[in-house]
Amino acid sequence: MTDTVAAAVSILFHGTAFAMVLYLISVGLSVTMGLMGFVNLAHGAFAMLGGYVLTSLMSRLGMPFVPALAAAAVATALASIVVERLLYRRFYGGEELDQVLLTMGLVFIAIAATTYVWGPLQQPLRPPRWLSGQIDFGFREFPAYRSFLILCGAVLVTMLWLGLERTRFGMQIRASVDNLRMAQSVGINTSRLFTLTFALGSGLAGLGGALGAELLSINPSYALDNLVYFLIVVAVGGLGSIRGPFAAALLIGIANTFFQYLLPQLGAFFIYALVMAILLWRPRGLFGRA
Amino acid sequence: MSPANGAGPALETRGLRKSFGALTVAQDIDFVLQPGARHALIGPNGAGKTSFVELVTGGLQPDAGEVLIGGSAATHLSQDARVKRGLARTFQISALFRRLSALENVTLALSERDGIAGDLWRPSGRHRRVIDEAYALLDRLGAADDALRPVSTLAYGRQRLVEIAVALGLSPTVLLLDEPAAGVPSGESGVIIEVIERLPADLSLLIIEHDMDLVFRLARRITVLVQGRVLVEGPPAEIAADPRVRQVYLGERERR
């Protein structure tokens, strides 16, 4: 393999792995923002929670990787239901400023709470033995964990897509995103739909945060540090969509890795410029609804 | 405000067409509103009445066709440009500045009309003439009580009156009223009807309405819109007698 091709393959690989993490975390945000019209700046806190649950279960309780992952996703989903029922639902369809302030406040509380419980340092993730090291794909070797990430991402996006297109629940979501009042008049229990969708999205975020602990390090200021990334994926992809964030995550993940390799001295500048350009061209995102 | 062309229609559309994917809201609509008209637009739900208003006022761009205000082309004008040409509308669901007072609501419209709204320095209170006129307008419509309270605290019937006042404050030549009595308890709707009846004779009026009593009381000409297409147009007596209208609207089956 020539050098450029090898470099390109590396960039594609690592970029896609990063993209999968971004996607898992952001897809829930996109759907709930499109569905409930609720600006949830605290979404990253759920991803962070997933990361903390995973690392705590593994290091303090010695739980194996896969069950701990599942536990992280479920715990996050449950926590999100509490938050949604108690606080968020009062502000659906309300003023944007309220939602921004409310969720920012929650982020601050999350920062304080996680510092109190887990301390200010980063939580390292020690991947299980069957996922450490390299896998030989024939033409070259790739890190096993990241390959696993890509696989998870691909499987989950397929499941989401099928779920959205084929199940009744998915149909209800699509109808409600399209036209909420019409959906309500047809008898869809939108209140319950919101809660379930929110739980699903937050659970996925928890999963993404847990899986991606190596790429987006788990520390108390996680939600604030990475907020821009998640919002970018949602804004570029479009609200209320599951394909949009996927395309956006791929674009941003790969572009980010590309610039990191080739122009590290310019940092994330190009990414933001790229995002700005896309938002200029398509203010509602690549797959946003008019 | 540029006065309506003396001879020609106050408002006209030619071959107006608009679709949203598979849904067609306007199909070749030819419509004429004469100066001083009292014209009603009726039709079943989903007929495209409000879409028509949006197309005429500039909220929607048509796929084909033309809009003419006072005889001159307006199809590619922005919403605010059309207002400057003399077009004003009200909204089916009250679209007022909710936390502002009724007086403020009307004053804002008058300020736009007179072009003083761009003034960054002089306190708005100094533009006394505008405030007086706004108050007088509210008074004429019987909405001057509680003129300083936030409109969201007013009874809904009163809000609808303020809605009309805001549109009138623009001194329009063409006024589009989108279901002016919609959502108003029957006790309060009488006031609104009276207000509409007392509107100046030279104002060209198009009313969208569901309430048939209101329509037959106010209109001298009626257009019936069904699924984005003009079904029939004529004076009230003709429309009332037209079997097609009955079928579409009142569900009366022909074989009786």
Binding site: A112 | Q79, A144, A147
Partner: protein, 335 residues
């Protein structure tokens, strides 16, 4: 806001001659005695708390920043998380000038205002064409872009370490910026006063009233013929300029500029301070900023973690219980 004068003049339903409501409506802009309070308080602080003048200058500069944010957020209803972009641009403009030979404060201030206003105008052209989440996102991206740019252009900005070597000349050649902070405090107070005067005029003008219309119902404003985009752009540009002045004040009085002036934290904090005082009432900034900053000065040293917790809790509480901030509560109590 619109009904400010109402309670005072006792006009209510079914009151006397029709002239009354129009009179009180036309008098809304008149100066009231209570409006002298902030300035009296500021003078008192100067006289009674000479040790706190450096902090005081910071408070005044942040009040100015909050005032600018109020114009955009409270009056025009534009929800943005990117105000720090203009604040930071002003700070770095004044800072870079002072670090490279031109330390004259007032011209530095004007240059900062111009740079920030220009940025406001250009970004406003892009950002203000949308609303809601997209607008929020775009303002965030602009601010983050600038933050990155400032970080990487460390040969001008000093990057992570901050801008070093600022030398700000004495005001009018006579009053030096020293560690006692007297000149700094009065300088900030004077600038705040002038900008406040301008903001007050704007808010009470027909333009300012039309902004509240845009905030309350943009669709309606269009339907009465208002050029909405143009109005928003104008206020966005003006507010950006004022925010730039605030940034320059901070730079000049502390003789330092760090990357934090462009951060999301900055944008968020000024929002919080403003909300506490009350949005869209012109004086929210004067209440919220001192309260927050003094509390922060006292408590955040004790345990930084707890500070985040209490602020977060306060924000949630304000949104759930006291949406209008302190001024909102006061207005509600008066009724």
């Amino acid at each position: 806001m619109a009904t400010e004068g109402l309670v005072r003049t006792g006009v209510g339903a079914g009151s006397g001659a029709p002239a009354d409501p129009v009179e009180s409506f036309a008098r809304r802009h008149r100066y009231r005695a209570a409006e002298a309070l902030p300035w009296a308080a500021a003078i008192l602080v100067f006289v009674l708390f000479p040790d706190y003048l450096p902090l005081g200058a910071q408070v005044l500069a942040n009040i100015l920043f909050a005032l600018a944010t109020d114009l955009v957020l409270g009056y025009a209803g534009i929800v943005t998380l990117g105000q720090a972009a203009f604040f930071g641009t002003g700070a770095y403009t004044a800072g870079i000038l002072a670090a490279n030979g031109w330390g004259e404060p007032i011209t530095g201030l004007l240059a900062a205002a111009a740079a920030a206003a220009l940025l406001g105008f250009l970004s406003g052209l892009i950002v203000l064409r949308t609303t809601g989440l997209t607008l929020l996102m775009q303002t965030l991206v602009v601010a983050t872009l600038l933050h990155e740019a400032a970080n990487k252009a460390s040969f001008i900005t000093g990057g992570d370490d901050g801008l070093q070597g600022m030398d700000v000349w004495p005001i009018f050649g006579v009053f030096p910026f020293d560690m006692f902070g007297q000149a700094a405090y009065l300088y900030c107070l004077a600038v705040l006063f002038l900008c406040w005067l301008a903001a007050r005029h704007i808010v009470h003008s027909p333009f300012g009233r039309s902004l509240t219309g845009i905030r309350e119902n943009e669709r309606r404003m269009r339907a009465i013929g208002a050029p909405v985009m143009r109005r928003r752009l104008i206020v966005y540009t003006i507010a950006a300029g004022i925010a730039g002045i605030a940034g320059a004040l901070i730079a000049q009085t502390t003789q330092f500029v760090g990357l934090g002036v462009l951060s999301l934290d900055r944008s968020g904090t000024i929002l919080i301070m403003l909300i506490i005082g009350g949005v869209g009432r012109l004086y929210g900034a004067f209440l919220g900023v001192p309260l927050y900053m003094i509390a922060q000065d006292r408590f955040s040293q004790i345990q930084p973690v707890y500070w985040y917790f209490w602020i977060g809790l306060l924000m949630v509480a304000v949104v759930v219980f006291a949406r209008g901030g302190i001024l909102g509560l006061v207005a509600r109590l008066r009724r």
